[in-house]
Amino acid sequence: MVAITTVSTPTPTPAPAARGPMAEAWGIFRRSPAAMLGLVILILVTLMTVAGPFLYPVDAFEIVWAPLTPPGQEANIPLGTDNLGRDTLAGLIAGGRATLAVGFAAAAITMVIGVVIGSYAGFYGGGVDNLLMRFTEFFQVLPPLLFAMVVVTLFQPTLVNVALAIGVVSWPQTARLTRSEFRRIRTLEYVSAMRAIGASNSHVIWRVILPNALPPLIVSATLTIGMAILFEAGLSFLGLSDPNVMSWGLMIGSGRQYLLDAWWVVTLPGLMIFLTVLGVSLVGDGLNDAFNPRMRER
């Protein structure tokens, strides 16, 4: 948080904090068992998708055994096979990569669009705000799943398009949040002070206000990752995902027909999605507490 130290120069220097704000936040985060559990889950899931292919080198698309072999029946196929006879564990490993990638990419797209629009609207106010917020409302009132389906249907259901579709339907909330933060912060004294020493608008927006508006945005971004993962699963369930890239949603989508007699085909990727989203949410909650000044005083 370089920005905070920079902007605090014009104001009377406060008593030097014992720790930096990030370290302080981490201290609060670390003391929350739920947040730490979420972090551990996320680290494990990430490890699985990164190191998994080396520890369990099976091609997720290769047909290795009889279709719908239950878990545990064959020693070398611990989690059974899907409707085509592809290894479920290999699918979970490869699918995790795609699913996490979609989650992070969609969250990044959401943040970029949301923050740019929200910050300009919040900073300039007036006509610009009016125009940008009407634009945002237009996207806000679109039913998100339906709109994402249209986007994916019009273009091809590739992972990039799925991520784009999710990003395009999720940014309005971030834009609203950013705008409200900007409206609050732009009236604070240190912003006026920066203006007084002749800082340009873009300097004030990106260097002064944004760093101070970041904490709630980081929390929001974290939760967006979880939402995007669920969204990808939902689109895949409806058959709108890239059939050439293994993802958890794809596994659920192609396994749903076998739900009545092969529970593992849908349950295992479903469980992975559940765990990952749970991890992301717990981390998000933990971050929320950690960035909350009221928590900090304790």
Partner: protein, 530 residues
């Protein structure tokens, strides 16, 4: 040539009943028909309307075959039986067909069914039905009296008798439909006045179709049931749950093999794959022969050798689908064993690819495969299997999914594809359902289920066209065998499996629909044991 009454199921049943009566008192004397009751049919199809004269497809066919009578009907063999026509006769040159209608037959509104109605109905069907080859050779029709129809043909047309049955040429009341409106969009198509064993009283799209017994049906004592309800379900799972709970008594046209196996295991239901010889449904892989790589027959043959039909039939379809090896199904009278089968052989596949300059050491080959959406087991799963199978011979396949059926159909009809999974029906006679895929003249961009492969072989055209006008069955079989031999050699299509349509019904259902048309023929003989 007068018709001969073959050994039909009805005569067999009568014989069996007589035998049973003779043999032992504990035999099923209860086989005496019980009338009345409601049969609930589970259905996944969504008909646009119920007038099969202007609409093809199984969704309309099932209700339409109950609402409308046809001139002829078929039992379990490809041998025509009397229905609305009580007798028929071909002239010696096989270019004139004279049919005698039953007297006293009436429409659901009580008006008599006359030769005028028949001629008008056949005319409407000829003009509007998507299967344009079905009645195309009809030059003129005459009605010398209200009970006689004479059909004059330009050339012999052996497919005609079959075309006069099942869901293909329903007899409509002229006095109702001939009202100056376009028949394809006539609102009367939703609740039509018909001529068959059941009259439609309710049609709620997406919900149900209610068919009530027509008391004035021209076959004495039929139908046995009081009512048929065709209840629509969103997916096969919910239809199966309805069967398990007893909400539905019969589930025809079910092709989800795991679910068929599940119902089979329940022990309270009967599962049969009979009743589908007429539609002859084939699940296949079609090649766009205009694709630079796929224009080489060796590449197409190599792909065929690299695909293991037995894996599809046994592993993907739980052993319930039969392998398909040629343009017609095994139950067709024109099926021949004498074709190149392309049994799974990776060495041959690799050798052919190498010859064509692809495979190991050759050019890399990348192809795209499409599939019909919303059909996981038959289409998507097989497409994904093809991807995995062709990876083994060094062909990289990317699967392209379509969000809905129209998108897929549009892509294939405009020839924007390399390979596609497809499902095409024989519809009983090659002239109706087979020729369209292979004739050079049927390369019609924009039309789905035409020759979208852009396949053209003059010799095949000659054989198919000659067989189409050959009245002698044995000679016809020879001609088709030759045509199918050449087609499989040229491999514009790699035939994979017959769609494993099954009918599941509760044990109380008697005389289940096992004719060649199954539930796409009249269900007037079905009864419920109470």
């Amino acid at each position: 040539m007068t018709f001969r009454t073959g050994l039909t199921r009805r005569t067999l049943l009568a014989g069996a009943a007589a035998l049973a009566a003779l043999s032992a008192p504990l035999s099923l004397a209860a086989q005496e028909v019980q009338t009345g009751g409601t049969l609930v049919l589970a259905s996944l199809q969504k008909p646009r309307h119920l007038n099969a004269a202007v609409q093809s497809g199984i969704a309309t066919a099932v209700p339409a075959a109950q609402i409308f009578a046809t001139l002829l009907r078929y039992g379990e063999t490809f041998e025509p039986e009397p229905y609305l026509a009580e007798s028929w006769e071909y002239s010696d040159d096989a270019k004139t067909l004279t049919l005698k209608l039953r007297s006293g037959a009436t429409f659901h509104d009580g008006e008599p069914i006359t030769s005028e109605d028949v001629i008008w109905s056949l005319g409407v069907t000829k003009e509007n039905h998507p299967f344009s080859t079905m009645l195309e050779p009809i030059e003129s029709m005459e009605a010398p009296d209200p009970q006689t129809v004479v059909i004059n043909l330009r050339e012999p047309h052996p497919a005609l008798l079959l075309a006069l049955s099942g869901p293909l040429t329903p007899i409509l009341p002229k006095h109702v439909f001939d009202d100056g409106q376009d028949i394809t969009s006539n609102p009367k198509n939703n609740l039509p006045v018909g001529s068959g064993p059941f009259k439609v009283t309710q049609f709620e799209p997406g919900q149900h179709i209610i068919l009530e017994r027509h008391d004035g049906f021209f076959l004495e004592g039929r139908p046995y049931l009081d009512r048929i309800v065709i209840r629509q379900y969103q997916d096969a799972n919910s239809g199966v749950l309805a069967m398990e709970s007893g909400e539905a008594q019969m589930f025809p046209l079910l092709d989800a093999t795991r679910l068929i196996r599940r119902l089979e295991g329940a022990g309270t239901m009967v599962v049969t794959d009979q009743g589908y010889a007429g539609i002859g449904p084939i699940n296949w892989l079609a090649f766009n022969t205009k694709n630079p790589a796929l224009s080489d027959v060796r590449v197409r043959q190599a792909i065929a050798y690299a695909i293991d039909r037995d894996f599809v039939a046994n592993a993907l379809h739980a052993g319930l689908s039969k392998p398909a090896i040629e343009p017609v199904v095994q139950n067709s009278p024109f099926f021949t064993e004498n074709v190149e089968r392309y049994d799974f052989d990776l060495d041959k596949a690799n050798a052919l690819l190498a010859e064509a300059g692809f495979g190991e050491g050759g050019q890399p080959l990348t192809l795209r495969i499409d599939f019909i959406p919303d059909n996981e087991e038959q289409q998507r799963a097989v497409a994904e299997y093809v991807k995995a199978a062709l990876a083994k011979v060094g062909i990289e396949v990317s699967v392209r999914s379509s969000p809905d059926f129209p998108t897929w159909a549009q892509r294939i009809a405009s020839h924007d594809f390399d390979m596609t999974m497809d499902q095409v029906f024989n519809w009983g006679d090659p002239v109706i359902g087979v020729n369209r895929t292979y004739l050079c003249s049927n390369i019609r961009p924009g039309v789905i289920w035409s020759n979208t492969q852009s396949y053209c072989n003059e010799e095949v055209d000659r054989l198919l066209n000659e067989a189409g006008v050959e009245p002698d069955l044995a000679r016809r079989q020879e001609l088709y065998a030759a045509a199918f031999g050449q087609i499989t050699q040229d491999a514009p299509i790699h035939f994979i499996n017959e769609v494993p349509y099954h009918t599941v019904y509760l044990q109380a259902v008697q005389n289940p629909p096992v004719s060649i048309w199954g539930t796409m023929g009249p269900l007037d003989e079905v009864w419920l044991q109470q």
